[in-house]
Symmetry: C2
Subunit: 333 residues, 2 copies
Amino acid sequence: MKIAIDAMGGDDAPLEVVKGAVQASSDIKGQIILLGLKEKIKTELNKYNYPEDKIEIYHTSQTISMDESPARALRKKKDSSVVVGAKLVKEGRADAFVSAGNTGAVMAAGTLKVGRIQGVKRPAIATVFPGLKGETLVLDVGANADSKPEHLVQQAQMGQIYAKEILHKSNPTVGLLSIGEEAKKGNQLTKETYPKLKELDNINFVGNVEGRDIFTGEYDVILSDGFVGNVVLKTSEGLSSAIFKIIKKEIQASWLSKLGGLLLKPAFNRIKKKMDYTEYGGAPLLGVNGVTIIGHGSSNAKAIANAIKIAEESINVELIDLIKQNINEGTDK
Amino acid sequence: MKIAIDAMGGDDAPLEVVKGAVQASSDIKGQIILLGLKEKIKTELNKYNYPEDKIEIYHTSQTISMDESPARALRKKKDSSVVVGAKLVKEGRADAFVSAGNTGAVMAAGTLKVGRIQGVKRPAIATVFPGLKGETLVLDVGANADSKPEHLVQQAQMGQIYAKEILHKSNPTVGLLSIGEEAKKGNQLTKETYPKLKELDNINFVGNVEGRDIFTGEYDVILSDGFVGNVVLKTSEGLSSAIFKIIKKEIQASWLSKLGGLLLKPAFNRIKKKMDYTEYGGAPLLGVNGVTIIGHGSSNAKAIANAIKIAEESINVELIDLIKQNINEGTDK
């Protein structure tokens, strides 16, 4: 088994990526291919003791920056770590591709270079949200800004497989993100999608859910179009960051509150860990014909290591084959 | 000046509504009309000392429950506090209507009974979000689930007036909620709306903003369609509730953390106050031809009192006339 890693992708690449790959290398059974500028990767790798038979370098001469136009980058930079990584998966020379680089470029490379699974209309990015009772997988969080009902139906099929196999939920519940519980509440998209989801007998569809249900952990999979999902993701990041900034500021307000803050430090650390995206190992691009995982731009070594482990697990459970079977069953009907 | 209050609306009505009306009555110059079941309101009012010339009761025989179908309720319950309150405004017998009742019914009564301002295509519900640097007005948060570009343009015009007159922002900045800063990023709606907003010379349009910009307080007005806005509102409520529940639980984990929690109590109370929707006095339904304010279903007395004060301020600054002028200027172009 080989997992290709974009060593040049992310705000702190290649430093954190290489560190994360080294961390993961002792935990996984497969091999790691680090894609990028050979010399830079070598310099980083030389900092560590690592199993040399488990990490190889694959030199690519070009780098796609975080704010580059994805379409243009894909056209112009054929020898970039992102394009070559996707190609290795396409050609069966790697079993998975992990990148914390330019999200749009990774998404496009996944869709166009790795290629869609036959029958899948639009790949979707899925993200794990921490919740009071457990994790909730939300998809799509940005691949597809104007979704159609049939896209959401396929997201339900792909999401429930991921929730079952990777998040270890048995018979995962699937909710449709809307603005009221009743079937007729919502926008045109949710109103058209609801009955289609209701019809599927291989999905444990529980009806509409609302924004406030995302963090209860009561639902395993929540479906939304990519625009709404992306807004939800970024609103959540912004709000939790604002709350912790306010708490930090308030703790500084007096000596007593500073002492209180000190005593609560272990508690806050546990909370941070619970809410920390790096624990969840990146967001899978579901619907492409090979395991493809998109890391957060600010991924640190731990986030990269976790993404690699999720990639390995996805390969082990044969995630892609399961999605293929499920999508094709759905299409046959 | 007369402000009509739906004494029967809200989870804790008429108790909290009457209490809030009594609280507000000494602060405002106008008079309050409490709509609802006379006997019930009287029982509540009798608990307090209040200026009797400032509060009158207007008996209505019917009550719309929180989960009733708005369309049906409006048709069947002509003598409900919601319908009569809207009618009093329509007929000029009240200058504003405040209700924490069934949101859909209040919205429908506002739109159909008070009536839209001439030229306004769709009224919008606006909500104030607390942020690190100040307040941000987000609209629409649920009136209009499938918005069109012209609706968002009118929201920009109405929102900037509200931000200026009620939130006291000079030359308020207006952002369009999307999933990337560039004009071409977003869904079909935002991509079509962006150039239309850019064209307006009476709007301080700053371009696309993202979910994470809602809580920085850096933008005064953020525009979204009602579906997205409602999801954002409920996601935020859900997330902040989850975070504070986790903190509370973690504080209970040990004696030291309990002590820490005790020392931080004043800090947490300040944070709660900062994030408390009851401080912001309900959400105005902008675009209807009379001041109409929708309270949160769980409004307590303070929330009601604040909503009444906002209603008075809206009347004083002649909010409706300002919106009329602005919308008509916009339409003439």
